[in-house]
Amino acid sequence: MAVPILKQGPYLIASVQSALTDAELLELRNALVLMVGKYRSRGVIVDVTAMDVMDSFASRTLRDIAHMIRLRGAETVIVGIQPEVAFTMVQLGLTLEGVATALDLEEGLTFLDRGVKKLGGHVGASG
């Protein structure tokens, strides 16, 4: 598998190591949606620190992952988007609507620990 998915307590952590092909992205999506039920996880963190390009397919897939996992009863945080990548994404209109984001893995864990409901105002994702 291209992306290792680690189980950490009640959370799953998928750490993207390199640029992913479309097929690998879909594979990641399927694996996460499957595993979140299997391990009864409450949250999922997708760490994209290593991705220096984010095209429309990748960002749509990330959004899909977040939405699917919400339907499976867990929350998703995308962490580690690089500043340059972030600006390019918004210029292309890829704003990950309705998806929680955090600076890095640690922040993502803090976010999940606090419980999404309490922090709804902060991440401001559900718009």
Binding site: F87, V90, T101, L103, G124
Partner: protein, 298 residues
């Protein structure tokens, strides 16, 4: 008729005697230096050029310009004149002398000298023609040199000022753990907007910020490009996990933004910087209040 003869003459003249003619010309100009210089200074005053300078100053500058002018005619090299023009510009630009004034005085000098040549050679039309043939290109080049020198000096000043403004322009400051403020003052052009975004995103990363307050109290106006850029910045910050609060939108900017239809739904706005920081503290879980029991006020 005249044009035709000119053409023929021109070729002869340029090969044979341009140098001789110019030398004769220079001698003439040296001989009548005082008179021509005074006439020129007077015409500058009459034309109401260089009004910021006193009569004495004009006369002093006129003398140096005159001498440099003659020297340039004599040697055919423009370096000295160029240096002088730059030096002159450096001195007079801060006093508010305009481009048209500088160009005007140089053209006046050209006219004064041409007139004096007419006066001297009007008896010998052929000679006058040849003298003018030698004089005009050199004189034009001098005028161009001075004008270009002036404009370049002006541009250099402007560039320096822009640089200075840019350096002062966009501090990203941490006011609390995880809280940055970005006060923006002055005009935001596209270049500055981009620089601002870059600095902010980098600042979020290095300071691990979770909330950013962008204060635009000091921004007088905003067009749709800049407004959209601001929205993009807010979005990009969110992707890095930071919430942006925009504060201090003036009534004018608020109206502009609504009128041009910028999508502001994603933007978190608070009236002033104080309110913004309070809101940010609330988001970060800080509770700020006066220290109790320090001074019993009752």
């Amino acid at each position: 008729m005249k044009g035709g003869r000119n053409q023929v003459n021109l070729e002869q003249v340029q090969t044979e005697s341009t140098t001789t003619l110019l030398r004769e010309l220079v001698t003439h100009l040296r001989q009548h230096r005082t008179q021509l210089r005074e006439e020129w200074a007077q015409r500058i005053t009459e034309a109401k050029l260089l009004t910021v300078m006193t009569k004495e100053e004009i006369f002093a500058e006129a003398t140096s310009v005159y001498d440099n002018y003659v020297e340039a005619l004599e040697t055919g090299t423009f370096e000295a004149l160029q240096a002088y023009a730059r030096n002159l510009s450096e001195r007079i630009i801060p006093r508010g002398v305009q481009t048209d004034e500088v160009v005007g005085i140089v053209l006046l000098l050209r006219d004064v000298l041409a007139r004096s040549l007419f006066g001297r050679y009007h008896a010998d039309f052929d000679k006058l023609n040849r003298i003018l043939d030698a004089y005009e290109p050199a004189a034009n080049r001098i005028a161009i040199t001075v004008a270009v020198g002036f404009v370049q000096e002006r541009e250099r000043t402007i560039r320096e000022q822009q640089e200075a403004i840019r350096e002062l322009s966009t501090p990203v400051l941490q006011v609390r753990e995880r809280l940055l403020i970005l006060p923006i003052i002055g005009v935001i052009d596209p270049h500055r907007a981009r620089q601002l975004t870059e600095q902010l995103l980098r600042g979020i990363r290095t300071n691990r910020a979770r909330v950013v307050v962008i204060d635009i109290t000091g921004v007088a106006a905003m067009d749709s490009n800049v407004a959209n850029h601001l929205v993009l910045t807010v979005e990009a910050s969110r992707l890095l996990g930071a919430t942006v609060i925009v504060t201090g939108l003036s009534p004018e900017i608020a109206q502009t933004l609504v009128n041009i239809g910028v999508d502001l739904t994603k933007m978190n706005t608070v009236g002033d910087l104080q309110g913004g920081i309070e809101e940010a503290e609330r988001l970060l879980g800080y509770k700020v209040g006066p220290v109790e029991k320090v001074v019993p006020t009752e």
